[in-house]
C-alpha cells in the first residue's frame, strides 16, 4: 500500500514538472510583454533594459530553471500587468473561483442525479423526453453563449439578478465569501448555473444509463419479487450502485470545472483566478500564467491522486495487483 502511494506521488511530481516545462516553453509564443509594459514613446534602449531586467532574453531552459528554483521557495515574482506579487493575487482570487466551482458542482450533482434517476425510471414519459432533449443544450452550446443568454434573460429582460460581478462579499480573515449575504447569492446563481450545465448534463446521462442497466439486473428483480417498495428499490438499491462511476467522474471533473471557469468568469466578470488568467494571456503576463498553469496542474494531480487512492480502498483488486 505504502509503495503504491509513494509511486503515485512520484508520478505526480513528474507530471507537475512536465506540465510546468511545457507551459513555460509555450510562453515564447504569447508575445512580448515589454511592449505592453511601456508606453509607445519608450526608446529601444529602454525596452532592451527591461527585457534584461526581467531576464526575457535568456534561453528558455534558464528561464524555466529560474522559475522552478523560485517556485520551490514559494516566490512567483511580480505580475507584469498589475505589479503585485503573484502568490498574493492568486490567494486573493482563489476563494471566488472555489466558491463558484463548489456551487456549480452541487447544482450539477443534485439536479443531475435527480433528473437522471427520473429519466432512468420513466424512460418514455414526456417529461423525460423534454429533460433529455433540453439537456443537449448543456453539451452542445458553448459556455459563453449560455452565459450571455442567461444574462439577457435574467438581468436585462426580467431584471431579477445582476448581470455580472461579485457583490455582497464578506471578509472572513483572508477568505472573501459571497455565501453570507443575499446579494452574494444573487450574483453567484447565474455564473454557477452556466458553469454547471455541462457537468449537469454529463451526470444526468451517466446516472440515467447506469439506472437503466441496474434496473435490468437480477438483484433488482429479486427485490421486486420480495415486494419491496418502488421507492426503496429505486433510491436505496438501484441509485446506490449507480453512484460509484458518478463520484469518480465528478471528482475528476472538479479540476475541469476550475479550468472551464476561465470562460464563465470572463463572461460574468467573476473576480476569480480564471478571469485573472485570461487578462494575463492578453497582456503576456508570464509570471501569472506560469503560476496559474502550475496551480491548475496541481489541482488535477491532487484530485487524481485522491481518486486513485479511493479506488484502492474501494476495489481490493488494485491493492493486490499493486503489491
Amino acid at each position: 500500500m505504502l509503495a503504491y502511494i509513494l509511486r503515485r506521488l512520484g508520478q505526480s511530481v513528474l507530471v507537475m514538472a512536465a506540465v510546468s516545462l511545457i507551459s513555460f516553453s509555450l510562453f515564447n509564443f504569447v508575445g512580448d510583454p515589454v511592449n505592453n509594459m511601456v508606453g509607445q514613446e519608450a526608446t529601444r534602449e529602454d525596452r532592451v533594459r527591461i527585457r534584461q531586467e526581467l531576464g526575457l532574453d535568456d534561453p528558455i531552459f534558464i528561464q524555466y530553471f529560474r522559475f522552478v528554483s523560485n517556485a520551490v521557495k514559494g516566490e512567483f515574482g511580480l505580475s507584469y500587468r498589475v505589479r503585485r506579487p503573484v502568490d498574493v493575487l492568486i490567494k486573493e482570487r482563489l476563494p471566488a473561483t472555489l466558491e463558484l466551482v463548489a456551487v456549480s458542482a452541487v447544482i450539477a450533482l443534485v439536479v443531475g442525479i435527480c433528473a437522471g434517476v427520473y429519466t432512468g425510471i420513466r424512460r418514455d414519459g414526456w417529461l423525460s423526453k423534454t429533460i433529455l432533449s433540453t439537456s443537449l443544450v448543456g453539451v452542445s452550446l458553448p459556455t459563453f453563449i449560455i452565459g450571455i443568454g442567461l444574462i439577457y434573460l435574467f438581468a436585462v429582460t426580467l431584471r431579477w439578478l445582476p448581470s455580472s460581478g461579485r457583490a455582497g462579499v464578506v471578509e472572513l480573515g483572508w477568505w472573501k465569501t459571497s455565501f453570507l449575504t443575499v446579494d452574494g447569492w444573487r450574483s453567484i446563481i447565474l455564473p454557477a448555473l452556466t458553469l454547471s450545465l455541462f457537468q449537469l448534463t454529463m451526470v444526468l446521462r451517466l446516472v440515467r444509463s447506469e439506472m437503466l442497466e441496474v434496473m435490468q439486473t437480477d438483484y433488482i428483480k429479486f427485490a421486486r419479487a420480495r415486494g419491496l417498495s418502488e421507492r426503496s428499490i429505486n433510491f436505496v438499491h438501484a441509485l446506490k450502485n449507480t453512484l460509484v462511476p458518478v463520484i469518480t467522474i465528478i471528482g475528476i471533473n472538479i479540476g475541469g470545472l476550475i479550468a472551464f471557469s476561465v470562460i464563465t468568469e470572463t463572461v460574468f466578470q467573476w473576480p476569480g483566478t480564471g478571469l485573472m488568467f485570461i487578462q494575463a494571456v492578453d497582456f503576456a503576463d508570464v509570471p501569472i500564467m506560469a503560476a496559474y498553469l502550475c496551480f491548475v496542474a496541481l489541482v488535477f494531480v491532487v484530485v487524481n491522486l485522491i481518486v486513485d487512492l479511493l479506488y484502492v480502498t474501494i476495489d481490493p483488486r488494485i491493492r493486490i495487483a499493486g503489491r
Binding site: V38, I50, V267
Partner: protein
C-alpha cells in the same frame, strides 16, 4: 385587492422618496480594462492616465474639447530656453499637505527616474529652478515650443507622502515587492480614492477641498468603477441599469443602446489614425516572391497600393459608418492636419494596375500583411477587406492576424514587410508623428522612410518658436509625405460612449472620462 394595491403604491412612494432624501449623485461606470496601477509615473497607458487624472493633477491639462487649460499652474510663458510656470496657491493634497514648488521638482525627478514610463515626454527638460514657493522655471537645452503639451499627463505627487511611504521612485520589477503607490493615491485632484481593488472595484468620492469646486459644471459626489472585460456583458450591465456609463461599448451595439429606454450614445472622432506601413527600407522583402529588389522601394508601387484601397467601402461595410476615411496619418485636432492633405485618397484600381505595370509588376507580387486582432476597432476585418481589394489589382497578400503582444514587437524589431498600425497623438502636435513614424531614426518607423527634408524639419520644429513659421514647416513636411506615400492611411477611428439619460458626460477625443465635467440629473 384595492388595499393591497394601495400598500404597494405607498411602499413604492416611500422607496422613491427615501431615495431622494439620500440624493447623492453616484455615478457607476465601467470599461473593458482597469487602470494598471495608480502610481502616476509607472505606466504610460491611456486608461491608467485617465483614472489617475481624476485624483492627480498636472501643471497643465486639457478639457473635453482638448483645449489646454491651467490646472496646478495658473499661467505659463516661455522665453528662449526657459518656461516659467506660476503655480496655483492654497492647493492641498488629499492628505492635507500643502502643494508647493518643491512637490513639482520632486515629481519631475520621479518622472525622470529610470523606472518611470514618462521620462521620454520630458527629456527636453534639463533643469528645474525654484524661483519661489509658487514659481518654477523649466530649462530646456533648446527652445521647446510644445513643452506645455507634453506635460498634460505628468502628475504631481506630494514629496513628503512619497518619502513617508517609501515610493520616492516608481515601481521597479527587480525588487519583486508591491509598491505602496500601486494601490494608494494622494493627489490634489477633484476626487479622492476611497477603495481600490484592482480589476474588481474602485470607488472615489468628491474632494470637498478641491480648488476647482464651483468652477466646473460637474456634480458627481461618488464614482464607482467596475471593469467588465466582456463587451456583451458590459452592454448588458448598461441595459439592466447596473451602470450609468460605459466608456467603450462595441460599435455594433450602439443601435441597441440607442434603442433602449433611457439610454443614449455619443460619438466623436478619435485622435487615432489607422494605416498600413510598407517597408521600403530593406533590400529585399522577407515575405515576397520578388527577389533581389524591394517593390515597396518604388513610389509607383506605394501609390498603387494606396489607390487600390476602397476606403469608403471599409467605412460602410466594416465600420458600419463609424470612421472617417483619411488622407494623412494624423487626425483632425492635431496641429498639422488640414482638410486638403487629409482629403481621402481616391479609389482607382485601374490606375493602380497601370502604375504597377509601369513599375515592372504587371503580374503583381506577393507579400504578407501583419495585422493585430485585439487592438483597434475591427482591426482584423479591415485587413481582410484590404487583402481582397489588393488582390483585384494583382497584389497577392497573405494575412497574418495575431494578438497585439505578438504583433507590435514585429514592428519594433523591423521584422515586417507590410503591417497595420494605429497612431494617437497625445501632444496634439505633428511633431509627435514625425518624431516616431516619419523621421529616419523614428522608433516606430518600420516603413524605413528616409526623406532628408522631412528629417530636417522634424529636428527644426522641435525648437522653432515662431508659430507661423513652424506651421509652414509642418505643412511642407506633410506635402513631402503625401508625395512619397510611405504609408497607406485608412481612417481616423471614432470613439463611442454609452450612458444613461440621467448622465451628461462630455465625450473627449482622447477617450478619457473627465468626471469634473459630468453632470447627473
Amino acid at each position: 385587492m384595492t388595499n393591497r394595491k394601495l400598500l404597494v403604491a405607498s411602499a413604492v412612494a416611500l422607496a422613491l422618496s427615501s431615495g431622494q432624501v439620500l440624493a447623492e449623485n453616484v455615478l457607476r461606470w465601467t470599461s473593458q480594462g482597469d487602470a494598471l496601477t495608480l502610481d502616476p509615473h509607472s505606466q504610460n497607458e491611456a486608461p491608467t492616465i485617465a483614472m489617475n487624472g481624476m485624483m492627480y493633477e498636472s501643471l497643465v491639462t486639457r478639457d473635453s474639447e482638448m483645449t489646454l487649460m491651467p490646472e496646478l499652474a495658473e499661467s505659463w510663458e516661455s522665453n528662449g530656453n526657459t518656461w516659467t510656470f506660476k503655480l496655483r496657491q492654497g492647493v492641498k493634497f488629499h492628505g492635507g499637505e500643502d502643494f508647493t514648488a518643491e512637490d513639482v521638482v520632486f515629481s519631475f525627478d520621479r518622472a525622470r527616474h529610470e523606472a518611470s514610463d514618462y521620462k521620454e515626454q520630458i527629456k527636453s527638460v534639463t533643469n528645474i529652478n525654484v524661483v519661489d514657493d509658487h514659481t518654477i522655471e523649466l530649462i530646456t537645452e533648446e527652445p521647446n515650443p510644445i513643452l506645455p503639451n507634453q506635460l498634460t499627463s505628468l502628475f504631481i505627487v506630494d514629496s513628503g507622502w512619497a518619502e513617508a511611504n517609501d515610493v520616492v521612485n516608481p515601481q521597479n520589477f527587480a525588487g519583486g515587492e508591491e509598491n505602496y503607490a500601486t494601490r494608494n493615491a494622494n493627489g490634489t485632484g477633484p476626487f479622492k480614492l476611497v477603495s481600490r481593488a484592482p480589476d474588481e472595484e474602485t470607488t472615489m468620492e468628491a474632494n470637498p477641498d478641491w480648488w476647482g469646486k464651483g468652477e466646473f459644471p460637474g456634480n458627481i459626489d461618488r464614482l464607482e468603477y467596475r471593469p467588465i472585460a466582456n463587451a456583451a456583458t458590459r452592454v448588458a450591465a448598461l441595459l439592466s441599469d447596473e451602470v450609468d456609463f460605459v466608456l467603450d461599448p462595441p460599435l455594433q451595439d450602439l443601435k441597441r443602446i440607442e434603442g433602449a429606454d433611457g439610454l443614449k450614445t455619443t460619438t466623436v472622432p478619435q485622435v487615432r489614425t489607422i494605416f498600413f506601413g510598407m517597408d521600403a527600407g530593406v533590400e529585399e522583402l522577407r515575405t515576397s516572391d520578388v527577389k533581389g529588389k524591394n517593390p515597396f522601394a518604388d513610389v509607383k508601387v506605394r501609390e498603387a497600393m494606396n489607390l487600390a484601397i476602397d476606403r469608403k467601402a471599409i467605412q460602410r461595410v466594416v465600420m458600419e459608418g463609424l470612421s472617417f476615411p483619411a488622407g494623412m496619418i494624423t487626425s483632425p485636432g492635431v496641429l498639422g492636419n488640414n482638410p486638403e492633405q487629409d482629403a481621402e485618397i481616391p479609389f482607382d484600381p485601374e490606375r493602380a494596375k497601370e502604375l504597377l505595370a509601369e513599375a515592372g509588376y504587371a503580374d503583381g507580387f506577393s507579400v504578407r500583411l501583419d495585422c493585430p486582432n485585439n487592438r483597434y476597432n475591427n482591426d482584423e476585418k479591415i485587413c481582410q477587406a484590404a487583402v481582397a481589394m489588393l488582390a483585384k489589382v494583382g497584389v497577392k497578400v497573405s494575412l497574418d492576424a495575431i494578438p497585439k503582444s505578438q504583433h507590435f514587437p514585429k514592428i519594433q524589431n523591423r521584422e515586417t514587410d507590410f503591417y497595420m498600425l494605429g497612431w494617437g497623438v497625445p501632444t496634439l502636435d505633428s511633431h509627435y508623428v514625425f518624431q516616431y513614424l516619419l523621421d529616419a531614426e523614428g522608433s516606430w518607423n518600420a516603413a524605413g522612410y528616409n526623406n532628408s527634408k522631412v528629417n530636417e524639419i522634424t529636428t527644426a520644429i522641435a525648437s522653432e518658436i515662431d508659430a507661423d513659421k513652424r506651421t509652414m514647416m509642418i505643412d511642407e513636411a506633410w506635402t513631402e509625405v503625401r508625395n512619397d506615400m510611405p504609408y497607406i492611411p485608412i481612417h481616423h477611428q471614432v470613439i463611442a460612449w454609452g450612458m444613461s439619460e440621467k448622465v451628461d458626460a462630455p465625450i473627449a477625443s482622447d477617450d478619457a472620462f473627465r468626471p469634473r465635467y459630468a453632470v447627473m440629473k
